[in-house]
């Protein structure tokens, strides 16, 4: 079964004349600056966000979206760029969340120590489990990683030693935290933290996939046997990608626990991994911005659809429509399905199509033979 | 004579690439029509367009008709049931199925499959009935792919490089088989082995850069040095001269049972 084939959308390399061409490489930087100064704006986008852009509620939502954008980008390092379908990525994220929470709340460590220990621990965990799981390939690999993650989920749910709080979760003890991370007025700092995380992940993934190792990973996605015959050990490269992605996920967990202020067991579930997969596919696997967009959009919908479902607009519809529409998951699921048919190749596939359209609309210079 | 297949102004684009640009030719109702051309000119693309197998990203224009019937809008399976047999370039045997299962799959409902004919041609297929096709050697897979279409009666066969990767002896055998097949069914053949072409082909269509560069009598083509040189990049002398092998090779003894 060829599960891991991603159909890359061949992006026609159209040499853009003049300024646009020179500006292009700086666009991410511009986006970063815009995102960084966003909290200084008081613009209201009614219907899109509850309050003005700088309100804590909006910033909190944006922070969560950014975290998941980063997580999805990290997961894409495995899935879209190396072709490894892991069903257990939630485990490393959860390790980040619970690790930090337990070290801060139960062991009373200062945040920086807890974060450092957690990220190191999460990375080592990924390396160890990856070393075992990578003895299999394809669906078997997916299932072994799922199995490991499931053990993690059971351990968290069973609340061994009273560490994790079981199904009730573990609120983060903020008394030892830097004051700048506590309280609604400081939500903006969490937002910036999330932005920093996203930037870090995108940068790392970008650098890695453009590196010699990244080239090997792309080769692995297509034909592992061939990589071996070329003289490279597929196992080593896959393990590096797995460990790196695990470490990035754990780091995401550290930031997430600060933003949400606690850990709850549903982040250990296989559903979270599945959502990561959905985010990546929604955005466009193996593309630079697709997974980020997918992650942001997914989380945005996940949070905002609850408000949509209870809005008056929906309530006033006839029952046949209003009942399903008031179920956020119904809308979310429907969005996925529609996305597949309307944006094949993910959100990232939209850009070339739009470019195509504009080119088609522009009067073409007659190609004289 | 009415052609069995006529292709008119066929043009195929796949994801922005204009692969075929107005190809027109006909296939005579008897004998072998061979489609020639360098790698990548679009031979395979032509056969697949006839069968309706252009990838979804592709766009096909023009007309393709068999007799009075237009083929373009019909689903592949209907065309095949209507008597269009196809031997693909990469053999495409079902690697996970056994040889026998591969053959069984090719049986068409309502007809009696000609197993005798196929096994007489390729006894190997009979012997290896229970082996998984994926573990067959390259040549054996090719035999299976050809055997598969010969099980049924066809009105036209589309065969893409059938001798690729076959041992010389098998090439000869396949050529013989196709020669016999072509007595009753017209064949549209893509072939790189010019010796085979010379033996089988009646008509030739030469493609170059997505267009038809030449059509006409195959023997005429192969005899004209200037033509073969310009169209196929080889002198007709090379085509017709006995290959180095035949100098070394002694008289052939046809004792199949020793193999």
């Amino acid at each position: 079964m060829t599960l891991l084939q991603t159909t890359p959308t061949p992006t026609p390399t159209v040499p853009k004349p003049g300024r646009a061409h020179r500006v292009r490489p700086f666009l991410p930087l511009v986006a970063l600056v815009v995102l960084a100064i966003l909290p200084y704006s008081t613009i209201s986008l009614p219907g899109i966000f509850e309050g003005p852009l700088n309100s804590p509620g909006t910033l909190q939502l944006l922070a969560i979206c950014l975290i998941f954008g980063g997580l999805a980008a990290g997961y894409d390092l495995l899935f879209g760029r190396t072709g490894m379908l892991s069903f257990g990525h939630a485990l490393y994220f959860a390790a980040g969340v619970y690790g930090t929470d337990i070290l801060v709340t139960r062991a009373g460590l200062p945040l920086w120590q807890a974060a450092l220990l957690t990220v190191t621990g999460g990375t080592i965990l990924a390396a160890l489990l990856g070393a075992v799981a990578l003895r299999t390939v394809g669906i078997a690999f997916a299932m072994v990683t799922l199995a490991f993650a499931q053990v993690g989920a059971i351990l968290v749910a069973r609340d061994f030693g009273g560490l994790t709080g079981g199904e009730e979760g573990l609120p983060l003890d903020v008394s030892g935290l830097p004051a700048g991370l506590v309280g609604v007025t400081n939500t903006v700092n969490l937002y910036w933290l999330a932005l920093a995380y996203l930037t870090l992940v995108v940068f790392v993934v970008h650098r890695v996939s453009g590196s010699p190792t990244g080239r090997v990973l792309a080769g692995l996605r297509d034909d592992e046997r061939r990589i071996g015959v070329l003289g490279l050990d597929p196992y080593r490269y896959k393990l590096v990608a797995f460990t790196l992605a695990g470490g990035l996920a754990a780091a995401g967990g550290v930031v997430y626990v600060l933003i949400v202020g606690g850990a709850s067991p549903h982040i250990t579930s296989s559903e979270l991994t599945l959502s990561l997969l959905v985010m990546v596919v929604l955005g466009g696997p193996g593309t630079r911005w697709g997974p980020v967009l997918g992650g942001v959009l997914y989380m945005y919908l996940d949070h905002r659809l609850t408000a949509f479902g209870t809005s008056d607009a929906v309530d006033n519809l006839p029952a046949v429509l209003s009942h399903p529409l008031s179920q956020p998951l119904f809308v979310l699921g429907t969005v996925f399905i529609l996305a597949v048919y309307f944006f094949p190749g993910g959100l990232a596939g939209l850009a070339p199509r739009v470019a195509h359209l504009t080119r088609a609309l522009r009067p073409s210079r007659s190609p004289t033979p | 004579m009415e052609p069995v297949l006529s292709v008119e102004d066929l043009s195929v684009r796949i994801s922005g690439l204009h692969i075929l640009q107005g190809v027109s030719f006909t296939v005579a109702p008897t004998g072998v029509t061979v489609l020639l051309g360098r790698n990548g000119v679009g031979k395979t693309t032509t056969l697949r367009a006839v069968l309706g197998l252009t990838p979804p990203a592709g766009e096909v224009r023009g007309t393709i008709r068999m007799g009075a019937q237009s083929l373009l809008s019909q689903p592949t399976h209907r065309l095949v049931r209507g008597g269009l047999g196809y031997v693909p370039e990469d053999r495409d045997v079902f690697a996970g199925l056994t040889v026998a299962e591969n053959l069984r799959l090719a049986e068409r409902r309502g007809t009696s499959p000609a197993y005798d004919k196929v096994f007489a041609l390729f006894p190997e297929l009979d012997r290896r009935g229970r082996q998984r096709a994926g573990s067959l050697s390259g040549g054996q897979q090719q035999m299976l792919a050809i055997g598969r279409v010969l099980l049924n009666d066809n009105r036209l066969l589309l065969i893409d490089e059938p001798t690729k990767g076959l041992a010389p002896k098998v090439v000869t055998e396949v050529a013989e088989v196709l020669e016999r097949v072509a007595e009753s069914v017209p064949v549209l053949l893509v072939e790189q082995n010019l010796a085979v072409v010379r033996r089988l082909a009646r008509d030739a269509v030469v493609l170059a850069a997505g267009k038809v560069a030449w059509t006409g009598d195959a023997h005429e083509l192969l005899l004209e040095t200037a033509l073969t040189k310009s169209l196929l990049g080889v002198g007709s002398a090379e085509v017709s001269a006995p290959s180095a092998r035949s100098e070394l090779a002694g008289p052939a003894v046809a004792r199949k049972d020793q193999l």
């Binding site: 909290p39 309050g51 700088n54 309100s55 509620g57 939502l61 079981g166 979760g169 609120p171 949400v260 | -």
Partner: protein, 373 residues
């Protein structure tokens, strides 16, 4: 604007009192949430005598769906606080309550937790209150079924995880502390086949079996206990869930002794009449919403916009709720309230509950815990 701006609660005396309700409108606990909000509306009506106002100030309620997800609830709470809301109530799920409570303390707003039953909400911090019952009160009610516990053998059958742990600990403390020997049989929350556990319970031959089980596998669990003869051989006590679940007990329903937080007809108070007039049939979590509204009105009345004053006004306050007299214990904000013993009768889809006995708030009072924050 500055990134650290938050709207300030309107100091002027005619501005509305903003109340945020963060609870489950969708997700697994949606029906609990529905009862809660119906109860809240009825309670608000009752406490403001139909005006919806405290003094001149209108009570402006914002409802937000958390879908049972703490992360969504925290986002919603931050959003509300950012908009100047000083009172937040809701939390259908324990996990939500536990994570919203610290947010309330960090930002010094009042938080009144809803149906979430976890004991940990009690004494969570100065700003956190509860409008429902807690697990401990359930267990104390269960104890009332066996008279003098001395020398009795009690088995707790519960799910793995915090909910089970809490129940087991409470039974050990309450009934074990009163002289019974308590042991436990635990099953994974995901279990679908209960015969092994039923066998273990049967071999233990307890005088009282306390079952703490939530979730969709409950009916299968009860059927197995019944089939293996556990229900016939001992007194089995468990909490009575919402009405919709009653028929799922099947034949087992009539063989179980129920401790009940509330069911229609358990009490006959002014508040219950007012509630019944609004919702026809009162269900398990209507009283929680009702009480929450009463507490909100009290807080707004006495505290104005000053959260610390609201806290002082609520601490030690006694009021007549749906269940009877409710008292907010000043030390740890436990809500002392009556509890009930009940029996089910009927069959098929028609079951009715009847009260066997009611226990006063003092009888079921949990031990005071130290305020954590």
């Amino acid at each position: 604007g500055s990134p650290q701006d938050t709207a300030t609660g309107g100091g002027d005396s005619a501005a509305p009192v903003k109340v945020g309700l963060v609870y489950s409108q969708s997700g697994a606990l949606a029906s609990y949430g529905k009862q809660y909000i119906e109860g809240f509306k009825a309670g608000l009506d009752f406490a403001t005598k139909g005006t919806g106002k405290v003094g001149d100030r209108k009570i402006e309620v914002t409802e937000v769906d958390d879908a049972g997800d703490p992360a969504k609830a925290v986002s919603a709470a931050k959003d509300l606080i950012g908009k100047g809301t000083k009172i937040i109530a809701g939390s259908t799920a324990s996990g939500v309550a536990l994570q919203v409570a610290p947010i309330a303390a960090q930002n010094k707003v009042l938080f009144i937790s809803g149906p979430a039953a976890t004991d940990a909400v009690t004494g969570a911090n100065k700003y956190t209150f509860r409008s429902g019952r807690q697990s401990y009160q359930d267990v104390v009610t269960a104890k009332s079924f066996i008279g003098d516990p001395t020398g009795k053998k009690v088995v707790v059958f519960a799910q793995d995880g915090a909910f089970g742990d809490a129940n087991e600990a409470a039974v050990k403390a309450v009934i074990g502390g009163a002289g019974a020997t308590v042991s436990s049989v635990r099953a994974p929350a995901s279990a679908t086949e209960f015969t092994p556990f039923a066998s273990q319970i049967k071999t233990a031959k307890p005088d009282l079996l306390f079952v703490a089980w939530a979730g969709t596998t409950a009916p299968a669990m009860w059927q197995t206990l019944d089939q293996q003869g556990v229900l016939a051989s001992t007194t089995v006590v468990t909490g009575l869930d919402i009405r919709a679940s009653w028929p799922t007990f099947g034949a087992a329903g009539t063989k179980i002794s129920f401790l009940s937080h509330y069911f229609d007809g358990a009490s006959d108070t002014e508040a219950s009449k007012a509630l019944k007039a609004k919702v026809n049939t009162i269900d398990l979590f209507h009283p929680d919403g009702f009480a929450a509204a009463q507490m909100v009105v009290r807080a707004a009345q006495e505290g104005g916009d000053d959260v610390d004053k609201m806290v002082t006004a609520l601490e030690g306050w006694s009021f007549d709720g749906v269940k009877g007299t409710m008292t907010i214990r000043a030390a740890d904000h436990a809500l002392l309230q009556p509890m009930f013993q009940a029996k089910l009768a009927g069959s098929g889809t028609e079951f009715t509950a009847t009260a066997q006995k009611s226990l006063t708030g003092d009888e079921t009072a949990p031990p005071a815990v130290a305020m954590k924050g």
